[in-house]
Symmetry: C2
Subunit: 183 residues, 2 copies
DNA sequence: ACCTGAACACCGTTCAAGT
DNA sequence: ACCTGAACACCGTTCAAGT
């Protein structure tokens, strides 16, 4: 008869590790995720995780990548500015929901850069639809991404539902600036 | 005969504490500032600092406030958009120079909010000069401040001299958007 | 191949004690 | 009034040892 522990203890893998890490940091804040607590949450020796993940920084990067995987591209048949608005609202929601994780990921710029490279492609394509010079679209995408990061880190009230109107107005201001640049 | 220690050990005060904290975090990165290292740098028991500063979070806020004190207002006789450009370049330089401190300060949004309230006033006034609706200027200032924060945290190469051209172009895009909003 | 446990070099903060 | 030092409850990471 197998012992009936609370968790059946399948062998550890990166997927279950990042899932547990995400749960910890979302519920207990930036200081809530430690390698030791993570081991405890997985029902495993604190150091077992090191056999699957190099170190804490890599763990953060992998967990961020997992979160960004849920970011869906906006409908490409929409007007470009509506695509930008939609993408920004979605990305903001994701980053505010996982604010502590985003904060940790931003300790090393390379992490967020690499992790978000895939996620920002739909945004770049939407902006390209505005008719800006080739290569300028990714610079304008960075403007939006950086703004969302700064906004999300400064926000204090976890408005998880609809994005606050100031946020959408600011995105509107940037869109207006992009339009001016496209002509 | 007074003992000639390396530092004459005037009694501790907040000013010398934040000066030492700034030096530590600027030189040794985000993990370089600990209450214990700070005590050592001041030639004092690690716990002596707690008699002048509530805790580490307060220390960060006080150090950030000290840094923001060096932010000078742009010449108000300049055109409003040049004032905005100047302020953004100055603020970016400050925040990139003290990136680790800025990062630490952003852990608690209230810290950066409170500390920067004074520093952003010249920016708000410059934007008001664009002729936007009353009350809208501070929202647009937040857009710029949040962008600078996001940009500074993502930057990887410590370009300390002139702001990189992409940054100034992005500020230009926001200015264009503000112009559209003012009409 | 994967997990364990002791060990190392750190943290922030509290509190009773000293001057 | 200000500083000290021991103590508490933590960290990330290394490494030899176990299965």
């Amino acid at each position: 008869m197998p012992k009936r522990s609370s968790s059946p203890r399948r062998p550890l893998d990166v997927d279950s590790i990042t899932a547990a890490a995400l749960h910890l940091i979302d519920h207990d804040g930036p200081g809530g995720l430690s390698m030791r607590k993570l081991g405890a949450a997985l029902g495993v020796d604190p150091m077992a995780v090191y056999h699957h993940v190099d170190n804490r920084e890599t763990l953060i990067a992998l967990t961020m990548a997992r979160v960004l995987h849920d970011l869906s591209a906006p409908d490409p048949s929409l007007p470009w500015d509506d695509q930008v608005r939609r993408w920004a609202a979605d990305y903001r929601a994701l980053v505010v929901t996982h604010r502590a994780l985003t904060y940790e990921a931003m300790r090393s710029p390379a992490t967020v850069e690499l992790a978000s490279a895939e996620g920002t492609r739909p945004l770049v394509e939407a902006i390209a639809g505005a008719g800006v010079a080739a290569g300028e679209a990714s610079e304008l995408a960075d403007l939006i991404v950086d703004y969302v990061h700064g906004h999300a880190l400064a926000v204090t009230d976890d408005s998880l539902g609809e994005p606050p109107p100031e946020f959408m107005r600011s995105i509107g201001t940037i869109i207006e600036g992009i339009r001016g640049r496209a002509i």
